[in-house]
C-alpha cells in the first residue's frame, strides 16, 4: 500500500501518505520532520478517525507527525482502511487545524547540570551554546507536549529552536532515573520511569508522568504546555520529598 493523498501538493510533496506497519497496523504520516502544522494535523485527524468507529479498528494513537491505527486483521485489512483513510484525508485541510481544547500550562521545577544532570555541557556544545545560555533557552518559554509515548506518560515536547536539532547518541545510556530531562532533535522529554536512552541528560525533576495508582495515571495530555522553572539541587530534593509524584509541578487552564 503506497497510495499518496496530497491535500496540498505544492506545500508538502508526498504528504500525507499511508504506510502499513506489520499485519495489524497502518500509519498516516503527515510529515517526516518536526513540523508544528503536521503535529496539529495528527491530533485533529486522530480525533476524526476515532469518531468514525470503523469496524475492526481497535485503537489509535498519534506520534509527532503521524496517526497510527491498530486493527484486527480478521475483521478488516490495510486495503479497506486505506480507502477509508484516503476519503477522510481529502475532507479537510488537516494542516490548518488548531490545537485541541482543554489545554493546560504546567510549571515544573527542574535542576539543570551538575552530577544529577551530567550531559548539560555536552548537549549545549552540540547546540552551539554555553551551558548558561542553554538553560536560559530551555526555561525562557513553555514547550508544548507534541505527543505521549515511548514509555507510559512520557511527553515529547517542543519544538526547540533549530540549533537544538542535535542527534541522539550512537550508544544507549544504560539507565536514567525517573524525572530526568533529556534533549535531542529539537525536543525535550521528562522520563516518567527509569529508562535506557540515546538522548542526553540535561536536567532533573521530581515529576512523574505515569502514576499507575492515581485516579489520573497520565497527568499530561498532547497539546499541554510545560514551563521549566530552574531550581537548586537543595530545592529539587525538598520538592521531591514534599511531593513524591509531582515534584512541585502545578497546572492551570490555558485559554
Amino acid at each position: 500500500m503506497n497510495a499518496a493523498v496530497l491535500s496540498d501538493p505544492a506545500r508538502r510533496a508526498g504528504f500525507p501518505h499511508l504506510v502499513s506497519m506489520g499485519l495489524s497496523g497502518v500509519l498516516v504520516r503527515f510529515s517526516d520532520r518536526m513540523d508544528d502544522a503536521a503535529n496539529r494535523a495528527a491530533l485533529a485527524f486522530r480525533a476524526a478517525v476515532d469518531g468514525e468507529r470503523w469496524e475492526g479498528v481497535e485503537e489509535s494513537a498519534t506520534s509527532l507527525g503521524s496517526v497510527f491505527l491498530r486493527f484486527d486483521p480478521c475483521l478488516t485489512d490495510h486495503r479497506v482502511l486505506a480507502e477509508r483513510l484516503e476519503g477522510l484525508l481529502t475532507r479537510r485541510d488537516w494542516y490548518a487545524e488548531g490545537l485541541p481544547a482543554g489545554r493546560r500550562l504546567w510549571r515544573i521545577p527542574a535542576l539543570f547540570g551538575g552530577p544529577e544532570a551530567p550531559q548539560l555541557h555536552e548537549a549545549a556544545a552540540l547546540a552551539g551554546l554555553s551551558p548558561d545560555a542553554a538553560v536560559a533557552e530551555l526555561t525562557a518559554r513553555p514547550v508544548r507536549v507534541l505527543t505521549i509515548g515511548f514509555a507510559p506518560g512520557l511527553p515529547y515536547m517542543g519544538p526547540l529552536p533549530a540549533h537544538w536539532d542535535i542527534p541522539r547518541q550512537t550508544a544507549l545510556t544504560p539507565i536514567l532515573p525517573a524525572g530526568a530531562v533529556v534533549v535531542a532533535v529539537r525536543q525535550v522529554i521528562i522520563f516518567p520511569t527509569a529508562t535506557p536512552t540515546g538522548w542526553r541528560h540535561v536536567g532533573q525533576t521530581g515529576f512523574r508522568g505515569f502514576q499507575p495508582d492515581a485516579a489520573t495515571p497520565f497527568p499530561l495530555r498532547a497539546g499541554d504546555e510545560v514551563l521549566f522553572e530552574p531550581v537548586s539541587v537543595e530545592e529539587l530534593h525538598r520538592l521531591r520529598n514534599e511531593d513524591p509524584n509531582g515534584g512541585g509541578a502545578r497546572s492551570e487552564a490555558l485559554q
Binding site: S31, E58, G153
Partner: protein, 350 residues
C-alpha cells in the same frame, strides 16, 4: 473450589502474565502480557478455560511452589525440569497439585519462557484491567518468595492427566517478517543482506526486546540518527545507532526514532521470544497479502487445533510421573466433579 499457590522460592524472572493490557498505546503503555502467547493459549486449552486466564511466566528458571487447597495445574512453553513431591512430571501436561505438595520447576532445557497455569487462573488484583506485570512500566513486579497467589474458582472440565503436543518453537530457525514503515529507508542491498544473514540471539534480552548479533557490517538506514519518532509495535526489528538489530517484544516502547527494517509476524514472534542466548535466527521477508492470508487461516481453526492436540497422558513405564497421571485419569480427582461455577475466568472475560 479455589485455593492459593504459595511461592516458596522463585527465579528472578517469574511474574504473573495474561494476554496483556491493550488500548493504552496513545498514553505510551505497550500491551505487555505473556512473551509467548501461544504457550498461554496451550495452558488454557489443557485446563479447558478461557485463554486470558493469568498464569505464572518463568524466564529461564522456575521456582518452588506449594498448593494450599487441591489445585490442577498445567505446564507449557519452554520445557523445564519439573518434579511434584520429588517425582519428575511431564511438561506440556496437566497435573494434580494436592494441598501441601511441592512443585519444583528448574531451569529451561530449551527456550526461555515456561508457564505454570492453574485451573481457575491466578486471581491476583487487576491493574488497569489486567493482572500482567509490566516490568518496564513499573506495573506489578516479579513474584517474591513467600508471596501467596490467590487462585480463581476451578472451572468445570479442568482435569489432570492430559498432554498437549506442542509445536517446538524453542530452538530458533527462520522467522517471517513483513515490511514496515521504515523498511524503505534501508537500501535494497542491505535488506537482501539482512535476509541472508545468520543472527545469534545475544545475552542481552528481556520482555522488552532481544538483541541480535551477527558477523559482518552493521545495518544502517538513510539519515538514521535524525528520524522523527513514530509508533512501534511488538515484532518490530529496530536498528540501534550501532547498527545492531533488536526484535521488540510485548513490553516494548510504544514510540521511537531508531529505524525498523521490518516486523516479525505475530505467529512467529514466540520463536524470537523463546530463543535463548546463543540461538540462531534468520529472517525471511514475506508479502503482506501472503502473511495476512496465513494469519487468518491459522485463526480459523485455532481452538479446534489446540483441542485436537490434547490427549491423555498414557502409561509410560519409564516414569513414575506418568503412572501418577494415569491413576488420576482413572478417577481419583476427575475435574468434572468439581464446582459448578460459570465457565469464566476471574479476569475480564466478560
Amino acid at each position: 473450589m479455589s485455593g492459593t499457590l504459595i511461592v516458596r522460592n522463585a527465579g528472578p524472572g517469574v511474574s504473573v502474565q495474561d494476554t496483556g493490557r491493550p488500548g493504552w498505546l496513545a498514553q505510551g503503555l505497550s500491551r505487555g502480557g505473556a512473551a509467548d502467547l501461544l504457550a498461554l493459549a496451550e495452558g488454557a486449552a489443557l485446563l479447558r478455560q478461557p485463554p486470558d486466564c493469568a498464569a505464572l511466566e518463568m524466564a529461564g528458571i522456575g521456582g518452588t511452589f506449594e498448593a494450599e487447597g487441591d489445585l490442577i495445574i498445567a505446564l507449557t512453553g519452554a520445557p523445564m525440569r519439573a518434579t511434584l513431591g520429588g517425582a519428575p512430571i511431564v511438561w506440556n501436561a496437566s497435573h494434580a497439585l494436592r494441598a501441601g505438595q511441592r512443585l519444583v520447576i528448574g531451569a529451561a532445557e530449551a527456550g526461555v519462557y515456561g508457564y505454570l497455569h492453574v485451573a481457575g487462573g491466578l486471581a491476583t488484583p487487576l491493574h488497569m484491567k489486567s493482572r500482567a506485570a509490566h516490568l518496564t512500566a513499573g506495573i506489578g513486579a516479579p513474584v517474591a518468595v513467600g508471596e501467596r497467589l490467590p487462585v480463581g474458582p476451578t472451572l468445570k472440565g479442568a482435569r489432570p492427566g492430559l498432554l498437549l503436543d506442542a509445536a517446538d518453537r524453542f530452538r530458533g530457525g527462520t522467522v517471517r517478517i513483513v515490511p514496515s514503515a521504515q523498511t524503505g529507508l534501508f537500501a535494497p542491498e542491505d535488506r537482501e543482506r539482512f535476509a541472508a544473514t545468520g543472527f545469534v540471539r545475544d545475552t542481552r534480552g528481556n520482555r522488552q526486546g532481544v538483541r541480535l548479533v551477527h558477523d559482518g557490517a552493521p545495518f544502517a538506514a538513510t539519515g538514521q540518527l535524525n528520524i522523527l519518532s513514530e509508533i512501534i509495535v511488538p515484532g518490530d526489528i529496530q536498528m540501534t545507532g550501532d547498527g545492531t538489530p533488536y526484535v521488540l517484544l510485548p513490553e516494548c516502547q510504544t514510540m521511537g526514532g531508531y529505524p525498523r527494517i521490518g516486523t516479525v509476524v505475530p505467529d512467529d514472534l514466540p520463536i524470537v521470544a523463546q530463543a535463548a542466548p546463543g540461538t540462531r535466527l534468520q529472517f525471511r521477508f514475506v508479502g503482506l497479502d501472503e502473511a495476512l492470508a496465513d494469519y487468518r487461516q491459522r485463526r480459523k481453526g485455532e481452538a479446534a487445533r489446540l483441542a485436537a492436540a490434547i490427549r491423555p497422558l498414557v502409561r509410560d513405564p519409564a516414569g513414575m510421573a506418568d503412572l501418577l497421571s494415569h491413576q488420576l485419569i482413572g478417577g481419583v480427582t476427575a475435574g468434572n466433579d468439581l464446582d459448578e461455577e460459570e465457565k469464566t475466568c476471574p479476569a475480564r472475560w466478560i
